[in-house]
């Protein structure tokens, strides 16, 4: 698969600009969880109020990219989705309480793209995916198919929020809340293809040291122009020229 990435944005607590990400990539460390929520002040208060932390991250990274393009399809991907909202609903059920209509209506996996479509007045095709640690790659594949079907550009958003403590023994791919958005257009500078087994081995060895990096953020060295190839799980990324 070939394509271009016209622009990107990523967010984690205290990390928002390319400069901050570059510094972080040079010395990776767990972000300061107390560094606050992503800024979504570009939305009116009445729209902002129902956004979960996951939705805030997704809007924060993707909105500025969308402002430069106008209507375009969105592929949103999250492995864990609105788990905190769902846990809140399950807890209410367990206590025999009435369910919060707000939590209920926004707990589904495609709630965020629904809000996106409403807030932006964009009726382009919107897709919500859930995948294992290959979410970014599968979302990009979906986006490339949309480009091939004629879309001028496609927004890819991958986001995961901090998970409720009760689920933590089973979750190992969200060391901290994070989101990344890519604006994909047709092109040949970027390649994504199945990984050769030797590269897989190298990737495993490389990932055994240092601060845990969420799968989707392992693309940062390529986006920052520090590296030209990267193997993530079953996928090989390559970028030629900036």
């Amino acid at each position: 698969m070939q394509f271009d990435i016209r622009d990107w944005r990523a967010w984690a607590p205290g990390l928002a600009t390319p400069r901050q990400w570059r510094d972080w990539h040079a010395h990776p460390a767990l972000p300061d969880m107390a560094a606050g929520q992503p800024d979504v002040s570009f939305l009116p208060a009445m729209q902002r109020r129902r956004l979960s932390p996951l939705a805030r991250m997704a809007f924060h990274v993707a909105w500025p990219l969308a402002e430069m393009q106008g209507a375009q399809p969105v592929v949103f991907c999250s492995r864990h989705g609105e788990t905190p909202r769902n846990l809140a609903l399950l807890t209410q059920l367990g206590l025999g309480e009435a369910l919060s209509p707000t939590h209920f209506s926004l707990s589904v996996h495609n709630a965020i793209i629904g809000l996106w479509s409403m807030f932006r007045g964009d009726t382009s095709e919107m897709t919500a995916l859930a995948a294992t640690s290959e979410g970014l790659e599968l979302a990009v594949m979906e986006a490339v198919l949309l480009l091939q079907a004629g879309a001028p550009s496609v927004l890819v958003i991958v986001a995961e929020e901090n998970q409720p403590e009760v689920y933590l023994p089973w979750i190992d791919d969200v060391p901290f809340a994070h989101a990344i958005a890519l604006q994909l257009v047709a092109g040949t500078r970027w390649t994504l293809e199945p990984c050769a087994s030797e590269a897989k081995k190298e990737a495993r060895e490389a990932s055994e040291s240092g601060c845990p990096v969420p799968p989707a953020l392992r693309l940062l060295p390529l986006l920052l122009g520090d590296e030209v190839s990267h193997c993530s799980g079953n996928w090989q990324w390559r970028c030629t020229g900036q």
Partner: protein, 88 residues
Amino acid sequence: MSDLHLEVKNLIIDALGLEDMTADDIDSTAPLFGDGLGLDSVDALELGLAIQKHFSIKIDADSKDVRQHFASIDSLADFIRSKQQGGQ
């Protein structure tokens, strides 16, 4: 503003996540839905739930008067007061 009016306004702000508002920003006579405060149908359900929980009263959602009771802060306060005074 009566204590009950203030209580209802604060409940609306909390339950509906109106993070930038204070009780003083809400006009007791203005419509809650549509043109006034601008609440929507999900807010109506959320607010109904919050009021039932907070004031330990029961609201019959099928009653045709519900729309009127939820028209403004004033009408909502009147409705809650009547329920609390044994109009169950």
